[in-house]
């Protein structure tokens, strides 16, 4: 287990280095007139030079890259050109927002799709058909329409939740919940159908296995067979699907954060990208890849934990 773990960490580090290097050279090397764009249309060439000097953009690109790497090793990702906030600090302050939405959404997805999957597998027939229809509709129905409808009903008409913005949990747990529940629900829509179908399929597979018949022959109740044995064995593939969805939730939260003006990781990345805020872009990329690496490790460990064969060896 340990060597395997170390190998995955090593591969993850390689991935991080490769992706950030590609991003670095493609963005810094693209000769985007950053200083000019920051200073605006009427700034003189001299002013642009001053700013370029301040930002260190007049150095050779390799020097800039090693400076960046040096900073990263010391935990410094540079300072945003447009908000003057250290990138590390910005990411740290924005992470709770995104995590609130994504984790809540993941919980909603997991609970509802497990429920739907179990019911679908146990009942079949109509439930199954409803699931299929639900799956197709959510797949094709732009989530944004739903977002608009929900904002209109719950935020503007009923004023139950705010239409924009985020309240930290520490400030007020209730207001925190109100500020993230709507985005989390909308974010869940796409994932529920896919995960439910996956869980249903795995459950049906498990239920047709020999050990289920043997358990039945011993008079074990159907509920126990379904919820204890089959679900446990179906959780492996379900977990893989769920973890991939979890990663993609971070991508999808970009759209949700923009619509709800949530100051999360997505809006930060979005703002950084449209402004060509290079340090912030690099930080977002580094963080994004790091997140994927960590998630993959967690997936590996968790699926190992789920599977006694891996766990025991």
């Amino acid at each position: 287990m340990i060597p395997f773990f170390l190998r995955r960490v090593g591969a993850g580090l390689v991935l991080i280095v490769i992706v950030t290097a590609i991003t670095f050279f493609l963005t810094y090397g693209a000769n985007i007139p950053v200083a000019r764009n920051i200073l605006g249309p009427t700034a003189s060439a001299e002013q642009v030079d001053i700013l370029n000097g301040q930002l260190g953009l007049n150095r050779p690109i390799l020097e800039q890259y090693f400076a960046w790497i040096g900073g990263v090793l010391q935990g410094d990702l540079g300072t945003s050109y447009y908000t003057s906030e250290p990138v590390v600090q910005a990411l740290a302050s924005r992470l709770p927002v995104t995590l609130s939405v994504v984790l809540l959404s993941a919980a909603i997805t997991l609970i509802i799709s497990t429920w739907l999957g179990v019911v679908g597998a146990a009942r079949g027939g109509v439930v199954d058909a409803v699931l299929q229809a639900f799956s197709t509709i959510t797949f094709v129905f732009p989530a944004i329409i739903l977002a608009i409808a929900m904002v209109y009903v719950f935020a503007i008409s009923l004023k139950l939740v705010p239409a924009v913005g985020y309240t930290p949990f520490g400030e007020s747990p209730e207001r925190w919940f109100a500020s993230v529940i709507l985005p989390a629900i909308i974010l869940s829509i796409g994932g529920i159908a896919a995960l439910a179908a996956q869980i249903r399929g795995s459950l049906v597979d498990e239920l047709s296995k020999d050990y289920v018949r043997t358990l039945r022959s011993r008079g074990v109740s159907e509920t126990s067979i379904l919820l204890k044995h089959a679900l446990r064995n179906a959780s492996g593939p379900g977990f893989t699907t769920f973890s991939l969805q979890f990663i993609s939730l971070f991508g999808a939260s970009l759209f949700i954060e923009k619509i709800f003006a949530l100051p999360g990781y997505g809006t930060y990345g979005f703002q950084a990208t449209i402004q060509f805020d290079l340090p912030a872009m690099l930080g977002v990329t580094l963080f994004g890849v790091g997140l994927v690496v960590v998630m993959n490790l967690v997936i590996d460990i968790a699926s190992g934990w789920l599977n006694p064969k891996v766990r025991m060896s």
Binding site: A35, I50, T79, Y82, S84, S93, V151, I156, I259, F276
Partner: protein
């Protein structure tokens, strides 16, 4: 590059959220006691403020900056100049020495005194600041002659210095932190508000709390001003409708209609930008035809401004052939008859210039020009000018224009509230990438800059007239914007853009 786009769009279409000018007479403001003591003003900005360091402020909307820092001179809602940090100011006869008398008894929020020395230090920082340097390029030295007097020496008379000192270049920061690293996010000034670090998340929410020691504190009724950064226009709209925001702006009355009349007040704001064709290659470097004034005039004659303003912007008023604010002193109504819409005359001028068959020209296509492109192609096509629109990613726009890739382009340029400043801007940077000028123009500008106050307006009208008659540009529109505020807020549309939150007051019941 959305931020630039946004900045330009903001100036283009709308008076931005905080189009305000400090109106300084405390008595003129309606009663502060009408508001509950703890009332909060909720505003939104589309992009986060970049940098609070003196001389480094970037971005169009300076509400936050100018709330934290006080400026040397203030400008009233109707554009008049009044004392700020400098209670009084005085030019020498040759207009090359400006003497500022600093107001007594002011303190920065770190308790340092706002004296001549502090003002000098701050101005010196602005002189080399990356975003203010060129604005103050005519200043040669700044010296404190005594504890409450600062003497500013100019290398040449410059009429735009006073208006500059009402804005971000004239902001005064505490000497202890002027350009220190901490000043980027934790500014120390003597302005009407203090940036509340604990309730501020960079890039997301900026909270200002009232500075009770500000010399004009009574003019600021709101105890707290909260500015949310909301990039998405629909999110702003939702926030307004759900009651989370107090004010916003929209591009036209039609758009304002979605805010129910019972809950919101709407009104027009003065033009915030002039849009049109910048015929920048007046030397004919890349588009030889543009060197001929007759061609530039023909372009002016070929454009049906009224129709564009009416059909594309949806406003009866606002068509213009001048680059200055229609509300300002420099604007010349008589000049409006110059280059009327006249295709025949335009064709004749083209023929006279030797371009009877027209010529081909490439213009950059940006998100801003998009909706105007088909009509411009069509109207210029009528006199034989064949336009090719080349899509330019926004982040490359400035660089490409400055790299002299285009002889002409469509753009908006913001109006500052000072004609001197605006005329200057239109002959600077991106708006004059070929650095065209003429001895005549130089002379006119020098005269205007050094003219005594009483003659200044006339002198600048002459500059304007020259630019119109020489067809440096083909201006099209300077339309009004529309503000929307909640019923419990009263908003006074200021003449010039970007000061602080002074135009917002609690509504009198």
């Amino acid at each position: 590059m959305k931020s630039i786009l946004r900045k330009l769009a903001a100036v283009a279409a709308v008076a931005s959220t905080a189009l305000a000018v400090a109106s300084c007479s405390p008595g003129s403001q309606n009663s502060a006691e009408a508001a509950p003591k703890d009332q909060t003003l909720h505003l939104a900005a589309s992009a986060p403020p970049g940098n609070f360091t003196i001389g480094s402020w970037t971005g169009g909307d300076a509400t936050l900056f100018l709330s934290v820092y006080d400026t040397l001179i203030h400008q009233t809602v109707d554009g008049k100049l009044e004392g700020g940090v400098a209670e009084k100011w005085e030019y020498s006869d040759d207009k090359k020495t400006l003497t500022l008398s600093i107001r007594d008894g002011m303190k920065f929020t770190d308790n340092a005194p706002v004296d001549a020395e502090a003002v000098t230090a701050s101005l010196k920082a602005a002189l080399v600041g990356p975003s203010t340097k060129s604005n103050l390029s005519s200043i040669s030295t700044v010296e404190a002659s005594d504890a409450s007097t600062v003497v500013v020496s100019l290398s040449r008379p410059d009429a735009s210095i006073i208006p500059q000192l009402t804005g971000t270049p004239g902001a005064i920061g505490a000497p202890g932190v002027l350009t220190a690293e901490s000043s980027k996010l934790e500014p120390v000034g003597s302005g009407a508000y203090i940036l509340d670090k604990t309730k501020t998340t960079a890039g997301s929410v900026y909270t200002l709390t009232k500075n009770p020691d500000h010399w004009n504190a009574d003019a600021y009724p709101f105890q707290t001003v909260e500015t949310k950064i909301i990039a998405d226009a629909t999110a702003v709209q939702n926030a307004m409708l759900s009651g989370q925001l107090d004010a916003t702006s929209v591009s036209n009355m039609e758009e304002a209609k979605q805010f129910p009349e019972g809950q919101f007040t709407t009104g027009a704001t003065p033009p915030a930008a002039v849009g049109g064709l910048f015929l920048v290659d007046r030397a004919g470097t890349v588009v030889p035809a543009l060197a001929d004034v007759r061609v530039r005039k023909a372009i002016n004659l070929a454009i049906d401004r009224e129709s564009i303003q009416k059909n594309l912007i949806g406003a009866e008023r606002g068509a213009t052939n001048q680059m200055v604010s229609p509300n300002g002193e420099t604007f010349d109504k008589d000049l409006l008859n110059e280059h009327p819409f006249d295709v025949e005359q335009a064709k004749a001028l083209m023929a006279e210039a030797g371009y009877a068959d027209g010529f081909a020209v490439t213009m950059p296509s940006t998100p801003i020009s998009l909706r105007f492109e088909s009509v411009l192609s069509q109207q210029l096509g009528a006199i034989g000018i064949r336009v090719t629109w080349e899509t330019v990613p926004f982040q490359d726009f400035y660089a490409k224009v400055l790299g002299r890739s285009y002889g002409m382009f469509f753009m908006f340029n913001g109006l500052s509230g000072s004609d001197a400043l605006d005329l200057n801007a239109n002959l600077t940077g991106v708006f004059n990438p070929f650095n065209t000028t003429s001895p005549e123009l130089d002379a006119l500008r020098a005269t205007a800059d050094s003219a005594p106050d009483s003659e200044q307006a006339t002198a600048f009208r002459a500059v304007n007239e020259y630019l119109v008659k020489e067809a440096f540009y083909a201006p099209i529109m300077a339309g009004e914007g529309v503000y929307v505020v909640k019923k419990d807020i009263q908003f006074t549309p200021p003449v010039a853009r970007g000061q602080n939150v002074l135009p917002y007051q609690p509504a009198t019941k």
